[in-house]
């Protein structure tokens, strides 16, 4: 795990920024995102809409907290949890042979596949470094 403070700050800004962006594009078009979730064919209409309304705000808020350096480990936990979920979801989708848009970054989204998994794992690494960083001890 990375311990260097500057590197950890960079991780926070990059990961936080990515999550704020990912959440913001979804908040702007919740119905499109709800359709994306529905396309995975795992949950029905109601749950798709609830997830489409709530998930983007989790992404935005955890990203903002991470950038601001407030509750940063809590934010890293939320982000890491979401990323683990996204990886499992993408693997299951690939096993089921579905051709769906990942719905991850609005217009920059692409088919749920290996590249999405690798991207999520890279972000998960940043999240884990931030989650398990040593707590600053008071002098």
């Amino acid at each position: 795990m990375v311990r260097n403070k500057t590197v950890l700050l960079a991780f926070r800004l990059v990961l936080g920024g990515l999550f704020v962006y990912a959440g913001a594009v979804k908040v702007l078009d919740p119905l499109d995102f709800a359709q994306n979730i529905r396309n995975y064919d795992l949950v029905g209409q109601s749950l798709s809409l609830i997830a489409a309304v709530v998930l983007p705000w989790l992404e935005i808020l955890s990203g903002l907290f991470l950038i601001a350096g407030v509750w940063k480990r809590g934010a890293a936990l939320v982000i890491s949890g979401l990323l683990v979920f996204f990886v499992v979801l993408t693997v299951v989708t690939m096993i089921r042979g579905l051709d769906v848009d990942c719905g991850c970054f609005g217009a920059l989204s692409r088919k749920a596949g290996w590249s999405v998994i690798l991207e999520d794992l890279a972000m998960l690494y940043l999240g884990m470094c931030l989650l398990f960083q040593k707590r600053r001890t008071s002098p």
Binding site: L31, Q35, N36, D41, V53, W57, A75, V78, K111
Partner: protein, 163 residues
């Protein structure tokens, strides 16, 4: 241990704030859903004026006339097992590279019929939206899909459709 609890509490607080923000910002949308909108799909017809739903009879007529382009939005493996004769396979719940030049070079006013498995399948609608975004003006979504087509005993074709 207390540190882990502190982190967990922070995460839960972020979750709670997320719920509050979602409810506040999307209240009008939630109200529309509670009133019964979006029960079948998240499709808003007003945003896609060229897209409309059709029944089996309409789909069959359009197919029999032979003038409409029929697109099957299911995955290739399902398409190969059986599809509407002369249909092209565009496995598309949205992955960006699926619309080939062969589709994009067609006149924008041609009639296109799209279908998927049927029931609650969503990919035909997703494909219809993408065709609309590419400028096509007459897109008919046969929502009964493959299930209804085969139940009605209509003609089938097998193979991947690539001559």
């Amino acid at each position: 241990m207390s540190e882990a609890r502190r982190v967990l509490r922070q995460a839960l607080a972020i979750g709670a704030l997320g719920l509050i923000a979602a409810a506040a910002v999307h209240f009008p949308l939630i109200k529309r859903f509670a009133r019964g909108e979006f029960k079948e799909s998240f499709f808003q017809a007003a945003e896609y004026p060229g897209v409309r739903m059709i029944t089996l009879a309409e789909a069959e007529d359009l197919w029999a006339a032979g003038e409409a382009l029929v697109l099957d939005a299911r995955a290739g493996s399902f398409f190969a097992q059986g599809h509407v004769p002369r249909a092209r396979n565009i496995p598309a719940a949205g992955s960006g590279d699926a619309l080939s030049r062969e589709i994009l070079d067609r006149p924008r006013d041609m009639t296109i019929v799209v279908y998927c498995e049927g029931g609650a399948c969503q990919s035909s609608l997703a494909l219809a939206k993408r065709l609309h975004d590419e400028g096509f003006k007459d897109i008919r979504v046969f929502s009964g899909g493959w299930e209804e087509w085969t139940k009605a005993g209509l003609p089938e074709e097998k193979g991947d459709g690539q001559e």
